[in-house]
Amino acid sequence: MTVRSQGPQSPLAEAWAIFRRNRPALLGLALLVLIVAMTLVGPTLYGVDPLDIVSAPLLPPGDADAPLGTDYLGRDLLAGIISGGRASLAVGLSAALLTMGLGVTVGALAGFYGGWIDRLLMRTTEFFQVLPPLILAMTIVLLFRPSLATVAVSIGLVSWPTPARLTRAEFLRIRELDYVRAARAMGARNRRIIWRLILPNAAPPLIVAATLTIGAAILFEGGLSFLGLGDSNAVSWGLIMGMNRPYIFEAWWATTFPGIVLFATVLAVSLIGDGLNDALNPRQRER
Amino acid sequence: MTAPVLAVEGVTVERQARSGSVRILRDLAFTVQPGETVALVGESGCGKSMTALAIMGLLPPRIRVAAGSIRLDGEDLARADARTLNRIRGDRISMIFQDPMTALNPVFTVGEQIAEVLRVHRGLSPANALARALDLLKAVDISDPAHRLRQYPHELSGGMRQRVMIAMAVACEPRLLIADEPTTALDVTVQAQVFELLRDLKRRLGMALILITHDMGAVAELADRAVVMYAGRAVEYAPVEELIRAPCHPYTQGLIGCIPDMESGDANAELTEIPGMVPDLAAIGPGCAFADRCGLADAACRAELPPVMERAPGHRVACWKA
């Protein structure tokens, strides 16, 4: 007997083939690569210290010393945006990792074991969900000293319920499928069923959620910093915007440019997330 | 011979795809006489359900009748506009499906759904339609019909839901009822009751029936004549008794031979196998589509499509080797 369909073999290769045909997603990917490259190699190419006072304060864009103008202290805005990306992306990434780590663990335990474990974990999840996230995050940051780490942790602590519910739903669904039953009949241990059977099959929506979480976390960090609750020692896009907030009417550029970059980053991540959603969505594939 | 209720002639149905069109039905022709039951039988993907949808004018998007005519009492449905089809469907032709749960609307009661058909096609008042719906539930042997009338589909068992579907389908006393795998989702004891009901309704209403099924047993139980379909083509037409006693096409022989049969003796005899599987419709060569799975096939079979030839009166076969 012969194999029926030719074409891409593994589900991953197939997903990539679909993703590759998705223009907005590719655009998002290119944009993100550009932004990441900017924050990584930018400082060596554009050797201005973001904390140095280079010129007069609130200089409009187009100046020879500061292409994007200066902030309220006379610091170079372009240098600030370039190096601020590191903090924003780092916080976004680590907060997303924490969110997914917590969420997937809680959701997997609740969905797999059920019973009182499920009830306990889901009530806890609901408790976190009914608290307003921004207020909760602000409280956590204020309880400790605001730093990049506390900001990331606070974002993680308020964001995990969504992936937890998603993971639980996927585990509940896949747990009952026949191939999991078959594995039980073979004597597979729970560890194997969770790691080898359920998690890989639950991965597609979780990967999408993780991607979108990165965008949300970057935005969240920006919001906290804008409100003055960020790490005042680490330049981030949100911090620049927050510091220049009082001068928004005199110097629109000092808040607008970091805002545009922040917007572009979140947009890029969202486009990639949507693309992944289409590519990994099994309903698009033939059985 | 009287004029047939339905005359399908040279019907070819195509699916438009990026890589050109694929023929799902090829040159299909058969008739259904008044009061007669004709079975369309074959495996999944043979085009039997697509034939029903073509007759009903319910083909999915990008699939269309490319050639041929489908005449209901002389009126060509393949060329009818949407308004005409809407008038005819549910009135002169109706259809019942495999899964009565998804075919019924979950948010309306059984009575409301049957009454709806009568109000649309017969213009009955709500009260009259509901009274007639009660009669119909009695006619399909539903126990406690007055109570069932007020129930929702999910409150009924699978067998009762199929009876409700049948009541809706025969509400306007159609000339032709198409039953697409009507009992596949039902238990065997319930299936027998539904068959009995269909036989009874046919006799009482004098309607013709097209039975679409994969089950040769169901064909033998219910049908007068059968059309065996393979890869979008009718390969054998015959009166059912003759088809089962003396099948001519190797595919028909295979279909009958592969059924585990407890009436005819030896359980230790191996079942006849049809090797391989149904071909991809887009990759069918110029010859007979069954050639790759056929023990009798030779080069000629692969080279040239066998025409439909009359073997005996009313018994036609498309095979070079029959």
Binding site: M1, V3, M186 | M160, T189, G217, E221, C258, I259, S264
Partner: protein, 329 residues
């Protein structure tokens, strides 16, 4: 009653219960007996068929034998060992001796694993053989079920239903089990493909001396595959007999109704069906079981006693057991 050799599988008074959610807030949870006091035994190298309609408990019986659902009461003896009493690591190790083939060839294979990984999975789980040995065994199993070695590198979605069921059979045979429970293995397949899979199963049984518990709603399939057949109705076994005997001389009215209802290609040769042979109405929901014989509501021969007293499964002669107050040939 005892077969000449000790049976490989002996099921004794097996019951499985499901707890249904309460219908009212603070109401009592209801318990539904999906399998009720089921007893039968299967001789080594033979096939025991269980037929019944939806809700009969046949698949739950299969799951209980596989220890995939909790057993409420009863014993399961496998080769003399108390399978029902095993737990933890001992049960885990024991599982290599019995395997299951599931109905749906689409949901029973992990879509993210290659076919070779799927077939090898029982060997990995049971830690049988070295890597090389497992790989060689995988190729051997592919050949055994009529698939090419290249198939091992493909993913399940690249195969048709029949081929996928072959993969499921190869997986079930990986650990060389003595008992294979086949839970409706062909009911999702086209007839022509059904014959291929049934012939394959029969050949494998002959060649490897396998013992089958074969679950099906299709009497023809069970007749073809099985030596001994049990008929289940709403959680109870109502009749057990050798296949030939059961189908030629059924005793229980439900078995007769099943046989009469089965569409047959010989429908025309058959004398018109005795009207009484067809069961009345739909099978009741398993949650609404009343006292007495469970078939009484649909049985044309039912008397007052049938609604009062549940008949026990009793031997009519050394081959034939039936649970009916009025069982007649």
């Amino acid at each position: 009653m005892t077969p000449p050799t000790a049976p490989l599988l002996q099921v004794d008074g097996l019951s499985v219960e499901y707890v249904l959610p309460a219908t009212r807030a603070f109401g009592h949870k209801r318990v539904m007996r999906a399998v009720d006091e089921v007893s039968f035994s299967v001789a080594r190298g033979t096939s025991f068929g269980i037929v019944g309609e939806s809700g009969s408990g046949k698949s739950t019986t299969a799951a209980a034998i596989m220890r995939l659902v909790a057993i409420a009461s009863g014993r399961i003896l496998f080769d003399g060992e108390r399978l029902d009493a095993l737990g933890g690591e001992a049960l885990r190790r024991f599982r290599r001796r019995l395997q299951i083939v599931l109905q749906d060839p689409y949901s029973s294979l992990n879509p993210r694993a290659r076919v070779a990984e799927i077939i090898r999975e029982p060997l990995d789980i049971q830690e049988i053989g070295t890597r090389g040995e497992r790989r060689a065994r995988t190729d051997e199993l592919l050949a055994l079920v009529g698939l090419r070695p290249e198939a091992g590198r493909a993913f399940p979605h690249q195969f048709s239903g029949g081929q996928r069921q072959r993969i499921g059979i190869a997986r079930a045979l990986a650990t060389n089990p003595e008992l294979v429970v086949c839970d409706e293995p062909v009911s999702a397949l086209d007839v022509a493909i059904q014959a291929q899979v049934l012939n394959l199963l029969k050949r494998l049984q002959r060649e490897r001396g396998l013992t089958f518990v074969f679950i099906s709603h299709d009497l023809g399939v069970v007749h073809y595959m099985c030596d001994q057949v049990g008929v289940m109705y709403l959680g109870r076994l109502v009749e057990i007999a050798p296949a030939k005997r059961l189908f030629s001389r059924p005793l229980h009215p439900y078995t007769k109704a099943l046989l009469a209802a089965r569409p047959s290609i010989h429908a025309r040769d058959r004398v018109s069906k005795a009207a009484g042979a067809i069961a009345i109405g739909d099978p009741p929901s398993p949650t609404e079981i009343r006292s007495g014989c469970r078939f009484a509501g649909r049985c044309s021969a039912a008397q007052a006693i049938c609604r009062r007293e549940a008949p026990l499964l009793e031997p009519k002669d050394e081959q034939h057991e039936v649970a009916c107050h009025f069982a007649t040939p």
